[in-house]
C-alpha cells in the first residue's frame, strides 16, 4: 500500500501543530465557538449529542496492521475502548475530550493517518471497492486511482469551500461493490476495445433527501485525462452549483436542474483548458503510486487442511459459505470479518477485536486490511490453508459470525444514539432485527438480503439502496420508521420505493418479520432472492403483508 512521502508527513504533522494551537486558543477563550467550529470540522471533529466525535479518514478503506493497532490504542487511551466503522470506510470515536484531540491526531500522524477533510464542504475521503486488489472480477486495482485523487484533492485550494460536500468512489470491477452510482462522482475502471485502461465517469448520484442514481458523463475517459477531467467537473460544479439553498447544493441537483447534456458540454469545454495545464507529471506520480500497490508475494502451499475442515466442521463450512469471496489467485480467498454479531452494534469493534484482526492480517494476510462500506472488515489476501486458523482466532473474540450479505448484516448509521442530526434511533432497530432472525433460525433460509437503516433523511445508512430500507423520522415527537423496498446499491443501482405509512419503534421489527414471511411464502424457489421476488411481483404483496388491516378492509 501507499506510504507517506516526506511531503505527506510534513503536511499532516503541520496540521496537528496547527490544530493543537487552535484548541489552546479555543480553551483560553481567544476563539469563539463560531470561529472555532469550521477549524475543528476541517479536522473531523464534530460535537454530537452526548460528546465530541472524531471521524478519522481511512483512505479507500485500506489499513495495515500497524494502523489498525494504532486505532485500537487510540480507542483505549482516549475513548471508551471501541471504534465505529462507517459507511464511508472511516472510523469514528464517540467519546473524545476536546483537550485530548490534538494528542489523538498526533497518534494518527505517527502512523500516516489523519482526520482531514472528513467533514466540511470539500472533497471527502475517496472510497473504493473493499475487495480492491484482490477480487477475481477486477480489471484493475482501483486504489492507485483513489490515491491519486486523494493527493490531488487534499487541501486543493480551489475546492476547499465548495457549495456542499463532494464524494468520489472508485471501482475496478463491473460488479459494483463501492456504490459508485450514489456518489457525486463515481469512477469505474474499464478496458476499451483497443485494450486500453480508462474510466467510465458517472456523476450526480447521491442519497439524502433527494436520492438520485448517477448518470454517465463519459463512457470512456483515457487514464491520462483523469485529473484534468475531474478538475473540469469540479470547476463546472463550483460555478454552476447552487449556494442559495443547502438542500439543493449537491451536484446531483446541479445535474438534475441543468441536464446532463449541458453539464457534459461545459465539462468538455473546461477539460480542454485544464488538460493543457497538466504537464504529465500526474502520470509520473501515478506510476509511482501504482508501484506501491503491487500485488503481494503470494505463497505456494497445499490447501488440503482447508478442504478437510470444510468436510468435518459444519460451523466452519457455514463461515466459508457466507464470508469468503473469490480471489484472483485461486489458492487464495477474500475473508470478510463480520462486525455484525447478532445483537451487537453494526460497525463497532472493540480495541481487542481490532488487535486480533491486525495480528491476523500481519500473520496470515500479507499485512492488509480493508474496511467495507457495509461496516465490515476484510482480510483481502488469505491463502486458503490459513483460513481454519483465522476462523479459530476470530471465534475467540466474537468475530466469526457467518452472516455476510444476510439479513443480520445490516448497515446502520449511528442514529439518535449519537448523532446530533438524527431524527430517530437506528442501532437498536438493527440489533433487534438481527436478534429476532437469529432466534427464528431463518437467516440462511432467507438468503441474500440487505437491510440498511438511516436515522434521518441524510441517509448515511444508505437506506434508499437497501433491498429493505428503513428510515427513522420524528413524527410529532414520536420515532417513526418508514420502509422502502427494492433498493439496490450495485451496478444495477435502484432507489427503493416507499411501502407506505411508517411504523412506531415497537412496530417496526414485527413489520419486517411479516415482510420476510411474505417473501418466503411467495418466492418461486429457494434460489429466488428477496430482491428478485420484489422485482418480479412489485410492492403489492409486500404491502399486503406490512398493512394487513388495510388489505382486509379493501376486500
Amino acid at each position: 500500500m501507499y506510504s507517506y512521502n516526506e511531503f505527506d508527513k510534513a503536511f499532516v504533522q503541520n496540521r496537528v501543530h496547527q490544530f493543537r494551537a487552535q484548541v489552546e486558543r479555543r480553551v483560553d477563550g481567544s476563539l469563539t465557538e463560531d470561529e472555532f467550529k469550521p477549524l475543528r470540522l476541517m479536522n473531523g471533529l464534530y460535537l454530537q449529542l452526548h460528546a465530541y466525535m472524531l471521524r478519522v479518514a481511512i483512505p479507500y478503506g485500506t489499513l495495515n496492521s500497524a494502523k489498525m493497532h494504532q486505532l485500537a490504542f487510540i480507542a483505549d487511551k482516549w475513548d471508551k475502548g471501541y471504534g465505529h466503522f462507517t459507511t464511508r470506510q472511516n472510523i469514528q470515536y464517540n467519546w473524545p475530550k476536546l483537550s485530548d484531540v490534538p494528542d489523538m491526531l498526533q497518534a494518527l500522524a505517527d502512523v500516516d493517518m489523519h482526520a482531514i477533510q472528513t467533514s466540511g464542504n470539500c472533497i471527502r475521503n475517496v472510497t473504493a471497492d473493499h475487495f480492491a486488489g484482490a477480487a477475481a472480477d477486477e480489471v484493475e486495482d482501483p486504489r492507485p486511482t483513489a490515491e491519486l485523487l486523494r493527493q490531488w484533492s487534499t487541501d486543493h485550494p480551489e475546492f476547499a469551500f465548495l457549495g456542499r460536500k463532494f464524494k468520489f468512489a472508485v471501482t475496478g470491477s463491473e460488479n459494483d461493490r463501492a456504490v459508485i452510482k450514489a456518489h457525486d462522482v463515481g469512477l469505474r475502471i474499464l478496458r476499451n476495445d483497443a485494450g486500453e485502461i480508462g474510466y467510465q465517469v458517472i456523476i450526480g448520484g447521491g442519497l439524502g433527501r433527494t436520492p438520485m442514481i448517477g448518470k454517465v458523463l463519459r463512457e470512456f475517459l483515457p487514464r491520462a485525462d483523469l485529473l484534468p477531467y475531474c478538475e473540469a467537473i469540479m470547476q463546472v460544479y463550483n460555478a454552476l452549483g447552487r449556494r442559495d439553498n443547502k438542500y439543493k447544493a449537491r451536484i446531483k441537483i446541479t445535474v438534475h436542474e441543468n441536464g446532463i447534456e449541458k453539464i457534459r458540454a461545459l465539462v468538455e469545454e473546461r477539460f480542454i483548458i485544464q488538460r493543457a495545464a497538466f504537464g504529465g507529471y500526474d502520470q509520473v506520480l501515478f506510476s509511482d503510486i501504482k508501484a506501491a500497490f503491487a500485488a503481494p508475494d503470494y505463497i505456494n502451499a497445499y490447501t488440503d487442511g482447508f478442504e478437510a475442515s470444510l468436510k468435518t466442521d459444519p460451523a466452519f463450512r457455514s463461515f466459508v459459505d457466507t464470508n469468503l469471496s473469490a480471489h484472483k489467485n485461486p489458492d487464495y480467498a477474500i475473508v470478510s470479518i463480520s462486525i455484525k454479531k447478532h445483537g451487537d452494534t453494526p460497525g463497532d469493534a472493540t480495541s481487542q477485536q481490532m488487535r486480533v484482526m491486525a495480528d491476523l492480517a500481519e500473520k496470515y494476510g500479507h499485512d492488509e486490511l480493508r474496511i467495507s462500506h457495509a461496516q465490515n472488515v476484510i482480510l483481502p489476501h488469505v491463502h486458503k490453508s490459513h483460513i481454519p486458523a483465522i476462523y479459530a482466532e476470530l471465534r475467540k473474540v466474537g468475530l466469526a459470525t457467518a452472516n455476510i450479505g444476510l439479513i443480520s448484516d445490516i448497515i446502520a448509521c449511528p442514529g439518535m444514539d449519537y448523532c446530533a442530526l438524527a431524527t430517530a434511533r437506528s442501532i437498536p432497530i438493527a440489533q433487534q432485527i438481527a436478534v429476532r432472525f437469529e432466534a427464528l433460525k431463518l437467516e440462511h433460509d432467507i438468503g441474500p438480503l440487505q437491510i440498511k437503516i438511516s436515522g434521518c433523511i441524510n441517509a448515511c445508512g444508505h437506506h434508499h439502496v437497501g433491498h429493505i430500507g428503513i428510515l427513522g423520522l420524528d413524527r410529532a415527537g414520536v420515532e417513526s420508521y418508514q420502509i422502502t423496498l427494492g433498493g439496490d446499491g450495485t451496478q444495477t443501482a435502484t432507489i427503493g420505493k416507499s411501502a407506505g405509512r411508517g411504523f412506531s419503534y415497537t412496530e417496526i421489527v414485527p413489520a419486517i418479520e411479516r415482510l420476510i414471511y411474505a417473501y418466503l411464502d411467495i418466492r418461486q424457489s429457494t434460489d429466488e432472492t428477496f430482491l428478485e421476488t420484489y422485482r418480479r411481483l412489485g410492492l403489492e404483496p409486500f404491502k399486503a403483508a406490512l398493512y394487513p388491516e388495510t388489505s382486509i378492509a379493501a376486500e
Binding site: R26, H50, A51, W95
Partner: protein
C-alpha cells in the same frame, strides 16, 4: 402571532468534555436533568440563555429545551432530550453510567 411560551430547561454541552449539562436550581451547570432549573418565565429563560452564550470558555451550543414537571422534577417532553439525559441505548455509556 408569537407562539405561547412553554416551560423549558436551559441546556448546553461542556466545552472540554462535551457532556450534556443543564442550568441548575443552584445556579451552577449540572449533569442531571432532575436538578435543572424549571423555567416558566420567558424573559428569565431568554436572559439565562443570553448569559450562557457568553460563557464561551465553559459551554458550547446552549439552547432552551421543552420540559414538563413530573413528581416535582423537570422531565423532557421530546425523546431527543430524553436521550440526552442518559446517553446512548446500545451501551451503558454517558450519563446513565456516570451520574
Amino acid at each position: 402571532m408569537a407562539r405561547a411560551f412553554t416551560p423549558k430547561v436551559l441546556t448546553a454541552n461542556r466545552l472540554i468534555e462535551g457532556d450534556v449539562v443543564y442550568y441548575g436550581q443552584s445556579g451552577d451547570w449540572v449533569l442531571s436533568h432532575d436538578d435543572a432549573l424549571y423555567l416558566t418565565d420567558e424573559v428569565q429563560a431568554n436572559e439565562l440563555l443570553a448569559a450562557a452564550h457568553k460563557q464561551v470558555d465553559l459551554l458550547v451550543g446552549a439552547y432552551l429545551a421543552d420540559a414538563t414537571l413530573e413528581g416535582g422534577k423537570p422531565v423532557p417532553t421530546h425523546f431527543r432530550e430524553e436521550f440526552r439525559t442518559r446517553g446512548p441505548s446500545n451501551y451503558a455509556h454517558g450519563k446513565q453510567a456516570e451520574v
